[in-house]
Each structure stands twice: as structure tokens, then as C-alpha cells.
Amino acid sequence: MATQVQLPLPVLPDGWAGTNNFKASGTLSAPNQRNLEPVGPHFLAHARRKRHKRTFSEDDRIQAQENVKKVEDDDAGEISEPEDPVMLQRDAKDWKNQDHYAVLGLSKYRYRATEDQIKRAHRKKVLRHHPDKKAAAGSDEGDSFFKCIQKATEVLSDPVKRRQFDSVDEAADVEPPSKKQTQKGNFYKLWGPVFRAEGRFSKAQPVPQLGNDKATKEDVEKFYDFWYNFDSWRSFEYQDEDVPDDTESRDQRRHIEKKNMNARKKKKTEDTARLRGLVDQALDLDERIKKFKKEAHAEKNKKRFEKEAAEKKAKEDAQKAKEEEAKLTKEKEESEKADRAAGKKAKEAAKNAAKKNKRVVRAAVKDGNYFYSGGDAPASQIEHALNDADSLITKLDPDELAALTAKLNGKTDGGEITKIFKEESERLVSAGKAQAGEFKSLA
């Protein structure tokens, strides 16, 4: 039966193309080779299909099993440490002082040992040191070390007890290097393990690591920030003085309990101070801090310099702008002045020219016999002609006057002159500047 899927398939995108409506784009990822459990009706059906009248041999078995994913662990092979003969002589009664990790052969793992490793290490030790086995081997080791093993497992496989032990597991401590050592170089190599070891007490995980000289300022700041606000689970009840059992007086018991409480508190305070001191020391020796300070300083200087330069430039710019403006104003004034002078001159020249032209025109009127043809012109004609000439002149702009002057220049023939004046008067009339018949002398 097919499963029903309720959400819809996508619409075929425009322009989709494939061969026979199909387009292959990949192959399946390589599979996991696994053993099927040869159990149940569905497997038996599978087996029937797969065998299909075939039989398989031992060689086939080996070949088939070659790449199968393992689901069972090998025995705790990796956990093997030589056993210290002195340790084997330990008295289990003194369990508080035993190195539980060493007893289980986990010295190099310590707080890093996983629960699984502890279980497997325990089993390995039990198989070896069980008193029945020792007796069989004719050894008189007794069950003392076996009890040590049991105690170690009891402590290490109980998360609470394990933390109490890890809190005081000196063998996992990494002593901070001295100032002298550090100053010879190798800051990161020397201090990295110190912080890694201290990090085991952190409630917050993962713990930021020291890093190296390439770390960014942000990372370094985060690192020290973390360590100055370190939240530690370290506690010191493991070092409690034994509280006497019921047989002792209650007061005595109370007294010791109180003493223990105070001792724990004191140790915790000391530990917090110790860590702070350690971080101070590292911070003090950390070249990166100096580098960042220098960089920050340089950056600050650079900024100041830039600011000053900018200010200076702004000032200069302002000055320049001011000067420029002044110059411009001056130039403008001068040119205006020049213009004005030139204008005056031109005007005067024009005026002179006009005057001269007017004179020419007037003279022409006279030369043209006051537009009178035949003999001397009567006085009235002379007067009219002169008046008309004057009125005509007033109606002409300087250019027209100049043009008229040019036409009249050198003309002496009265008819011709009259004709020129006539034409001019007609031009003015047709241009609407004069009325027809206005110039009576030219009529």
C-alpha cells in the first residue's frame, strides 16, 4: 500500500527540459554495509529472494563480512598502563588517598575519561585482580587491591563523587610557569595547558582557550573576560575530616561537621583567589595585551594626527576660499569699472559720431538745395527742410543715422540727395516711425 502525502508537488517550472520528461542529476551516496538481523518473517522473505537456489561458502562469509559496520566495541584495548607494584600493595582503607584513575589504569585520561572508559577499565581490572583469580594463580595478593578497584569505580562512576575527587585531583593540575620561564618565550605553550587544566572546573562548557599570537583582540578579550568571571564547580568536601560515627558524642560530631564546613569555605575562597591571581599573572605576561595596547595607542595617535591635519586643512581651505572670494570681488569691480569707462568712451564716440553725422545730414540738406529743384530755395522751403531734417534725425537711431550718413557721404547732386532723403523718409513711414506727409519739405 502506498503512503498518502497531503502536501502538493511543485508546479513544473517554465522552460523545464528533460529527456522523456526525466533528468538525472546524481547518484546515491555510498551505503553502510550492515548485518541484517536474521529474524522475523520479513527477513526470511528477503533471505529466500537473496538465496534463490544458491548456496554460500566459508569464503563467501569472509568476503561478505569485510566491510560490515561494527556495532560491538573491542575490549578495552586502549586502556592499558603498567601497574605500579607499590600501588598494588595499597590498603583499601586508605582509599581517600588513592589515585582512583591510576588504580583503574586511566592516569592519562583523568577528568577527561568518559563513563564508558571507566566502565571498561573497571572490567579489565576486575578480570585481572579478582581474588578468586589471584588465589587460583597461587598469589597472596589477597583482595586488598581488588577493594581499591571497587572503591575507585565507586567514586569515579558516581558523577557527584567523581567531581569531589576531580576537585582535588592534583595529578590533573598544571602548575603555572614562573615569570622568568614565561619571559623566555613560549607563553602560549606554557600557559595553554594551565588554562586547559583549570577549565575542567568550569560550569560553563566549552571553555575559551588561550589561543596564540594570531588571536584577534576580540577573542583575547573574551578569553580574559571569561576567566575573570569564572564560574567554578570545584569544591573541597573530599578533604573533609572524617565525621565520627554514632558512637561519639553528638557535640563532637557537630564540632567536626562545623570545622569541615569552614574548611571547605576557606579552601573555596583561597581557590577563587588563586585562580584570579593566576589570570592576573597571565594577563600581565600576555604579549598580545601589550600589542593591542600599542596598537590602540597608535590608533589613537593616528586619529589625533588625522584630526589635527584635518583641522589645519580646513583652516587653510577657509583662508583660501576667503582670498579667492576677495580676489573675485576685486576683479569684478575692476572689470565693471573698466566696462563703465569703456561705455562712456563709446557713448562719447557715438555721440560725437552722431553729432558729426547730424552735421553731415544737415550739410547735405544744404547741399541738396533744401530739396528744392530749380533755383534758390525759398525761405519757407529752407526752413521746412531744415526742420524736417532735424525731425528725421531724431527718429533715427545712431546706426540708421550712420547708414544715412554713409549714403549721403560725398553726394553733391541735389536730386540725388533729395532722393536719398525721400527714400529714408518713406522707409521711416513704412516702418511706422513717421507719418506719411510728415516731412513736408520732401513731399
Partner: protein, 572 residues
Amino acid sequence: MSGEEEVPPRVAIGISFGNSNSSIAYTTGEGKAEVIANEEGDRQIPSILSYVEGEEFQGTQAKSQLVRNSANTVAYFRDFLGQDFKSIDPTPCHQSAHPKEHETTIAFSIRDSESETPSTVTVSEITTRHLRRLKTSASDFLGKPVTAAVITVPTNCTDAQKEALKIAAAAADLEVLQFINEPTAAVLAYDARPESELSDKITVVADLGGTRSDVAVIASRGGMYSILATAHDYNLGGSQLDQVLMDHFAKEFLKKNKSAGDPRENDRSLAKLKLESEAVKKALSLGASANFSVESLAGGIDYTATVNRSRYELLANKVFASFTRLITGVVEKAGLDVLDIDEIVCSGGTSHTPKIANNLRAAFPESITIYAPATNTSSLNPSELAARGAAIQASLIQEFEKEDVEQSTHPMVTVTPHLRNAIGVLLISGDESKGKFKTILEAETPVPVRRTVHVTTPREGGDVLVKLCEGLREIKVTKPEPKPKAEKADEDDEDDDDDDDEDEETREKVWKVSKPLAEAAVKGVKKGGKIEVQVNVSADLEVVVIAREVGGKNEGVRGVLSKPDVVENGKA
């Protein structure tokens, strides 16, 4: 050969042979697995033999001999079979006959006859005697001689151990049809119920026994099982819980009877203390309180006491926590997230303990079914699961020729490529980042396989895209929105602050396309039409995709994806 001898048909049962207890089961005519009670009415038969004046006792009777006759009582021997002395842990036998090295094997020195001098009985011989008794009980019940059995073993049982068990069984005239893994038998017991539906799922089987606990993660795909990871703890089981109660009662006893001596320091007192503590523990699985009562516990003093369940749960808190850690640990070991788990099957006697199941309920997401008496009313008896599974398998292969069984369990048949990633189609959008990945074949599905799904189309029908991809499951973690600080009067500020931090982040499974595989176009689908997508994966991982409109006239699209270059546990 001419003399065609009438070979009587096999009568096969299922046997779970534990360090603490054994069970025998058969399958009824209706195909239902039932556990058989022995003559004493026990369905969990202690794997213990005891000898008194040459008379052999087994089961509960032998167990009670641990007090008076511990030296001639053999218990907790299963794990010694097929091992050498170097590799066994004699610890569970502290209060019974101690194992000894004997030639290349392990033996017990017991007085098993009327003779005063003890004889050396190998673990193989003890096993034979135990199996013979089991076989007799089953034969008596069934009214016909049992001749064969499917026997359950731990997942890390070596070939040498199996071989030794086979020889020991043969000596009891019992043919071992097949050894099957205990956790797989437990899953089979559940899946063979008529009401269970076949579904792809991942099951964690927590087999919590007397002296050890074994956990397995099992992928179930189309009714076929593959073990993804296992974990074993040889120091965690019912005896640790017994010990908690033993210490408790011993201390209570000492408080009242200072001079009587610690019952834990005298063998006989210790044995009594242990037996009664175990009984109290079992009673606390059902009742809210239980009575402890031992005649002459130590120093000739009778002792009675009561303990209630909450007290017990407090005392055993750490042991309970270890069970939870073991189980969550194996999920991690399988490379899975708790959200990948569909069900937890609690198996073994210790799984009756309510607190263990309740702790699992709290540690795993709500969606997971936890099969244990305390968390699920439809759960089967955890002590019977392995035997039932074995009985079901026995009924399936009862008629098989010996060679057929051998060949069917041959690695050439069992070793199978399993899909590394899920295969599915994109819904809503063909864009890998927008489309919704719908699984057709889950990761860890063995091939060859064929699966078909019917998918709806957009409202108008028309041309649709079938885009086949490999998908990866990712876990999306959503942190709770920091609640806006409600403006409230200053005084009640402090009380409320704490609750705010307790908002838990939500985690969910989401699918991401890890690799597009193919695209197919189905054209002209009618309004409201459905598309049938069939994916066939061959044994060498060639894929044939068929997409067609359900009930459509068109014959649809058929395309082939060639097999990957490397067919191994490597990268393709």
C-alpha cells in the same frame, strides 16, 4: 538409503537463557507466543542448580538453597560458557559456588552426588543440566518431547560462546535451530502482536537484567531489523538495586541491634538479606510499600521492617540515574538524537521498576512510546520478551532444513547495503531551500527495496515536478523568545524572575536536501489528480524512478539513476 525412517517432526520452543533467569516459550496454533510455567508455576526460572545429597534442584528451589547450601549451588554461570578463566568476572558468584579454572575451561567444585568428595563440573555440563530441565518442563507442558529451540543471546556473544552453548544444548538432546540476539527478540515480540502495524521506526531496547544491562539501538525498516549501536554495563542491574536495599536494611537492623553484628559480614545472613531485599524490591514495583521480614537475620535476631516506595526511590536514585545515562548514551553512540527514536522497549526483570521507566519518560521526548509496565498499559511483561521473540522465530523456521537455516543466516544473505541517507521528494517548491522534503525511504533502509507514495498535486493540476533528493535530518533548536519584561510593581519582581529562566528551548527534526538526485515531469495532470511515485533501489544502488498520475491514461515517466562508483562504507 532405502530405509526411510519416519523422522518425527521437530518440536521447537523459544528459550531465553539469562544469567539470573531463564524462560521457555512456545507459539500457539493461532500464532501467539506464550511463556510456559514450569512445575512450580514459575515463568522466570532462576538459572540456578543446587545439589543436596545428590538430589538436583533447579530454579526457585535452587535459589533458596543459596542460604544453607551456597557451596553446592551454581548460579550466574551463563556468561562463563565458552570463555576462559582469564576473561570472566567471578563477582556475581560471591554467594554461590565459585568458578574455577579447569583445563581450558571453567568449572565448579560441588558435591553433586551422595559422595562426600566434591566433583568438578564444567560450566558446559551445568548448562546442559539446566537446559535439560528447561526442556523437560516444556515437554511436560506441551505433552510432547521438545527437540529443538531458538535461544536468545546478548549481542556481543562471540562465536566461541555460541558454539559452546550449542554443544551444551546438544548434550541435552536439544537442537539449536538458531541463536538470535536478545534485543531483536524483544522487538519481534512486540511486532508480532496482531495489533501492531508495520512501520519504519528506530527502537531502543533496554535489557535491564540481574547482573548486567545491555542496550541496543535497532532500526526497523519494512519489518527488517538492523542493529545500529549497542552498550553493555556489567556492573549495572537488579543486584545494584538489591544492594541498595541490603545496605538500608542492614543499617536499620544495626541501629536497633547494635550487638548482633552486621548481617552483611556473615555469609548466611548476607544470603538471607539478599533474597529478602530482592523480594522487597519486586514488591515495591507494584505496591507503595513492602515488608521485609527475615527470621534470625543475624545473631539469632528476627528482623521485620517496612519500606515505602518513595524512600526506596530516594535511596536508589543514583543507580536509577545510571540506567538513564546508559540508555541516552547509546543513542549518542549510534550517532542519533533522542528525536530520532520512535520507541523504547524495556526488557528484562529490572524493567518492572516504575522509577526507571518514569525517568526515561522524563529524559526522552513526549512523542516516544516507552514500553514498560509503568509507562504503557499495553506493554508486554518485560521478563518475557526475549523468550516470546525466540518462540516466534522458532515457529517461523521450525520446518526449515538445517542447511536452510544456515544458509539464510549466512553473511552473504545478512550483510546488506543500507541507505546512508533518506530518499524523498520535494513538496510545494522544487527549490531545494524552499521545498519541503518528504521522506520516501528512511536512512538505514536495507536494499534492494521498493517503495511507493501517492502525492497530491497543486489545486489546478497541470504540469508537476517530481524532484527526488537525498535528505539529511537536522535538529533545529529554538530558544524561547525572551519574554518582554512586563511592567509590574517592584515588590513582586523577585518571585517571578526565576520562572523566566526555565523556559526550555524547543528542539525539532527538520529535513535538509543533501543531494538532488533526479527530476521528472508529469504533464497534464487533471484537477485534483494524484501522482504515484515509485522508487526502486537495487542491491547495487541503481535507482529506478517511476512517476505517473494515479488512474491517468498516460503511462507516466520512468527514469534510471546509475549506481554510485563505490559501494562501500566510504564516500561515493
